[in-house]
Symmetry: none
Subunit: 140 residues, 2 copies
DNA sequence: CTTCGTGCAAAAGCTTTGCAATGCG
DNA sequence: CGCATTGCAAAGCTTTTGCACGAAG
C-alpha cells in the first residue's frame, strides 16, 4: 500500500494544514473501515481535547472538495467517509457479520463494469464497497 | 409488472388495514421513483388531512417488517423507500450526482458473485447498491 | 498582519417516542 | 369491546451555520 503523503500537495495548493485537519486526515486514511464523523471525532479527541465535532464535519467537507475523501450514505442513515488514495485502484468487500474487509483489484469488475455501461449507460465508481459474508462467517 | 394486491395477505396475517396504511402502501407501490417519507406524506395528505408524518414513518417501518418495502439510504442523508413486490430480485445503481436509481436484475451479477466466492470465499449480499454516474451525468 | 479555520452555541433537518384518544376487527 | 394504531407534541440524532477569537502562512 503506497503512502503518498498528500500534505505537501495540499499545502502547495494554498490550504492551511492545521493540526485538526492533519489529525482527521490521518484517522480517515489509516482506517480499514469507513468511519462516521462521530467515530473520527472520538479517535482524535484524546489528542486534541478542544476539538469540536463541527470542525470534523467541516474538515470532511473540505477533504471531499479536494478529492481525498468520499461520503457514503450508510444504511443506518448516517454518513460514512472513505479515504480515496490516488493511484491505488481497488474495491472492498466488507463482511456484514464481523466487519472484516477484503481488497479486490479493479480488474475483477471489468466485465460487470462494461456490461453496466453498455446496457444502462451507467459508469461505476472507481471505489466500491460491497456488503456480504466472509469465509468464516458464511461457514456458520 | 404484476399487481398482486398484498392487502388480503396482510389482513389474513392479522394486521389491521387502516386507511392510513392503505394510502401509504398505495403511494409507495405505484411510484416509479423511490420516495422519501416527506414525499409520501405530501401525496397522502390531500385525501387525509389529519395524517401525521409520524404515522407515515411507523407505517413504513411496518411495511419493512412484512417485507413489502425496503429502505435505501440516499446520498443526501435521507431515507428513500422502495416497494418490493415479491419475486423481483434486483440490485441498484445510484447516481452520485443526481441521485437517480436504476434497477439491475440479479443475474447481471452472477459471474462476479461466482468469482468472488471462488477466489475470496466471499458471499455477496442479495441486495447491493452501487455508486456511480448515470447516463446524463456521465455525459457532462 | 491578514485571512482562513476553529470553538462554541444554537439551529436545522429527519426520524423516533410517550401518551391519551380513536377506530379496526 | 379490547387492543392495535393514530394524532399530537416533544425529544433525539446527525449535520449545518453564525460569529468572534485564534492561529497559519
Amino acid at each position: 500500500m503506497p503512502h503518498d503523503d498528500p500534505v505537501p500537495m495540499l499545502r502547495q495548493q494554498g490550504y492551511r494544514l492545521t493540526s485538526q485537519r492533519r489529525a482527521v486526515l490521518r484517522v480517515v486514511s489509516s482506517s480499514e473501515r469507513n468511519l462516521t464523523a462521530e467515530e473520527i471525532f472520538s479517535e482524535v479527541v484524546p489528542t486534541q481535547p478542544a476539538l469540536d465535532i463541527a470542525t470534523v464535519y467541516r474538515t470532511l467537507q473540505w477533504l471531499q472538495t479536494v478529492g481525498l475523501v468520499a461520503a457514503l450514505a450508510s444504511s443506518d442513515g448516517r454518513m460514512r467517509y472513505e479515504y480515496h488514495p490516488h493511484g491505488n485502484e481497488h474495491h472492498h468487500l466488507i463482511c456484514q457479520n464481523c466487519g472484516r474487509t477484503l481488497q479486490v483489484p479493479s480488474e475483477a469488475f471489468a466485465t460487470l463494469r462494461a456490461r453496466l455501461r453498455q446496457v444502462y449507460a451507467f459508469v461505476l465508481d472507481e471505489h466500491l464497497t460491497l456488503p456480504g459474508l466472509c469465509a468464516e462467517c458464511a461457514a456458520t
